[in-house]
């Protein structure tokens, strides 16, 4: 009974929080709250996917901007062709996943540091491509000038909010399901020792590639939703190294390789971003300091720190019990 309760209490809490969050725009919550929450959901989804790559699959992929930017651009260009934004968002995810498949032929031949460097170059290349390539529009649009998202005014703000909530929730559920499946067990085995995992019959390459493509798909959708809300996309922003900074900060501050890590980390990243929005430089400076301190003091992030403290506390309790009785 207790086990069943525990199993469903997580699901129950998740459903209750989601319903409450979804009702916020209907009951007239302040617009700034909704904006903070929008950023929170979007960053959470991206950070969860980066955690899947760097935390669980051992792929230090430094290219989230490539997937997010591609998703955003696909959605924007499709609106110019008169295709609805919600189709564009899904197609954006598919394009990012296809790009991941294509590029994996090259980057998956690299190991460790080389993989990190190879993926770091990808957003830089895409930025240059989109600075030059003008798939739609006249002389004054595209390239460095960027594109407006067509028909963005017609989209009610609640819809944008719900889409972001949807992708944030979906990424969280996806992570929880993956980690409780055979796929997740395989990833854990690879993370701990990929040679012994391979000799136990785990398809190391296949699993890594699958998580790379899943992450690209979700990040592509994230890009579509983010730039739909933005209403405007240009290469220097879409393929910026800032995207990497956001997901890395959120994941590492919260706890890399821990399922709830990005959730906690994203709260801090979004809070710092908005509390210190007026002092852009200082906000990032503080985030950099937090990153360094967290890494030195608690390499497992906040969630890891809480877990360790709880263990310590429990141990002390256990020690006390026999002596008092």
């Amino acid at each position: 009974m207790k086990a069943i309760m525990r199993k469903y209490s997580l699901l129950g809490t998740l459903i209750v929080i989601t319903v409450l969050a979804a009702l916020l725009p209907v009951i007239g919550a302040p617009k700034t709250w909704l904006l903070y929450l929008f950023y929170f959901y979007v960053f959470l989804a991206a950070a969860n996917m980066w955690n899947l790559l760097a935390g669980f699959s051992g792929l230090l992929a430094l290219c989230p901007a490539a997937f997010i930017g591609l998703g955003g651009y696909t959605m924007t260009i499709l609106t110019w062709w008169g295709i609805q934004y919600y189709i564009g968002i899904i197609v954006g995810g598919v394009v990012a996943a296809l790009f991941a498949m294509l590029i994996s032929m090259s980057v998956f031949r690299m190991k460790g540091v080389y993989f990190a460097i190879g993926t770091l170059v990808l957003p830089a290349i895409l930025k240059l491509v989109f600075l030059r390539w003008k798939p739609v529009g006249g002389d004054f649009e595209g390239g460095g000038a960027g594109y407006m998202v067509k028909g963005v005014r017609a989209i009610p703000p609640e819809v944008t909010y719900w889409l972001a909530l949807g992708i944030g929730l979906a990424s969280m559920v996806l992570i929880l399901i993956i980690l409780r499946s055979k796929f997740g067990l395989g990833l854990a085995a690879i993370r701990d020792n990929d040679i012994s995992a391979a000799s136990s019959g785990i398809n190391v390459f296949g699993l890594k590639l699958s998580s790379f493509i899943i992450a690209a798909l979700v990040m592509g959708v994230v890009g579509g939703i983010f730039y739909m809300n933005n209403g405007y996309i240009e290469p220097n922003n879409a393929f910026d190294i800032n995207w990497l900074m956001i997901v890395l900060l959120a994941t590492v501050i919260g706890g890399k390789g821990l399922e709830w890590g990005p959730l906690f980390g994203t709260v801090i990243v979004v809070a710092l971003r908005f509390q210190l929005a007026r002092y852009a430089g200082i906000s990032l400076l503080i985030q950099g300091l937090i990153l360094v301190v967290i890494m030195l003091v608690a390499p497992q992030g906040i969630v890891g720190l809480i877990r360790d403290l709880r263990k310590k506390f429990m141990n002390q309790q256990n020690k006390k019990l026999p002596s008092s009785s």
Partner: protein, 288 residues
């Protein structure tokens, strides 16, 4: 014949500019070779070097070339301390930790520069900034020649240091085989601290020459990091001569790419080459 004479200018400029890239990449290459850490803060540290020279130029009126002398020990000490108190501890936690700390360092350096010097574009303007001279039909700016000379001098000095001095040999030994080096009585942490200090001093030189050649702003760093990576990958990680040739190839493909494919081709061509080399020969053209 027409094409050849038109190509003379991009070829000469490309090779000279490659010299600047060599100086930028050397520090990164040294840190990777010795410590096996990708110092992602390298680009931002180079730009920090440019800003320090800018501060010396605007407040003291000091010529950036003279600023090299005080800036070398200053950056060496800074690097020594960063290694001792940050990276050294990180390396004990996990290999990824050092990379993430370097990311934090990049954020700190970049935004500190932005707070101190504002996001405005700056450049190191001296009396020889606009000087050019003509060789045949090619106009060559003096600063590009200075970049190339600096690359040669830095290469020779670093190479001599690594081969001739005890400390240099210790660094080479530690980078080849850490455990054996330890058995030979070399203190690896000390070697790492010195190596990182040298890498920082190299970053300050790179920053000064970058500032003399191009204008810079606080967020120029990441782009420089990617260029430095490109140079190292083309030449081969940890290989000194490879880095030099990698710089030349990168500079040449940039100017020739710009000549044939317009402004966006400038970086697109070398980046695609980097990706191609990584795919076919991950250890670089001259790596083992």
């Amino acid at each position: 014949m027409e094409l050849l004479s038109n190509l003379a200018s991009p070829i000469v400029i490309g090779i000279l500019m490659g010299g600047l890239y060599v100086v930028i990449a050397l520090g990164l290459s040294l840190v990777f070779g010795v410590m096996k850490v990708i110092n992602v803060a390298h680009g931002d540290l180079v730009i920090f070097g440019s800003y320090m020279a800018y501060a010396a130029l605007t407040t003291l009126g000091l010529n950036p070339l003279w600023w090299i002398l005080p800036s070398l020990p200053l950056f060496f000490i800074l690097g020594y301390l960063i290694e001792k108190y940050l990276l050294n501890r990180a390396a004990k936690i996990s290999p990824d930790a050092a990379l993430i700390i370097a990311f934090g360092l990049a954020l700190i350096v970049q935004n500190a520069s932005q707070i101190i010097w504002t996001p405005q574009t700056r450049s190191l303007i001296t009396d020889f900034t606009m000087t050019t001279f003509k060789v045949g039909r090619v106009y060559i700016p003096l600063v590009y020649v200075l970049d190339f000379v600096a690359a040669l001098v830095v290469m020779v000095v670093v190479r001599q240091f690594l081969q001739r001095t005890y400390l240099g040999q210790a660094i080479t030994a530690a980078s080849q085989d850490r455990q054996t080096a330890e058995l030979m009585g070399i203190n690896p942490s000390r070697v790492y601290q010195v190596a990182f200090g040298i890498a920082m001093a190299l970053a300050s030189i790179a920053g000064i020459f970058y500032g003399l050649t191009f204008s810079f702003y606080p967020s120029s760093g990441p782009a420089l990091l990617i260029i430095a990576f490109g140079v190292i990958i083309l030449g081969g990680l940890g290989s000194m001569v490879g880095t030099f040739i990698g710089g030349m190839i990168f500079g040449l493909s940039q100017t020739l790419g710009g000549y044939f494919f317009g402004p966006t081709g400038q970086l697109l061509v070398p980046f695609l080459m980097v990706l191609l080399v990584l795919t076919i020969r991950p250890q670089g053209l001259f790596g083992r």
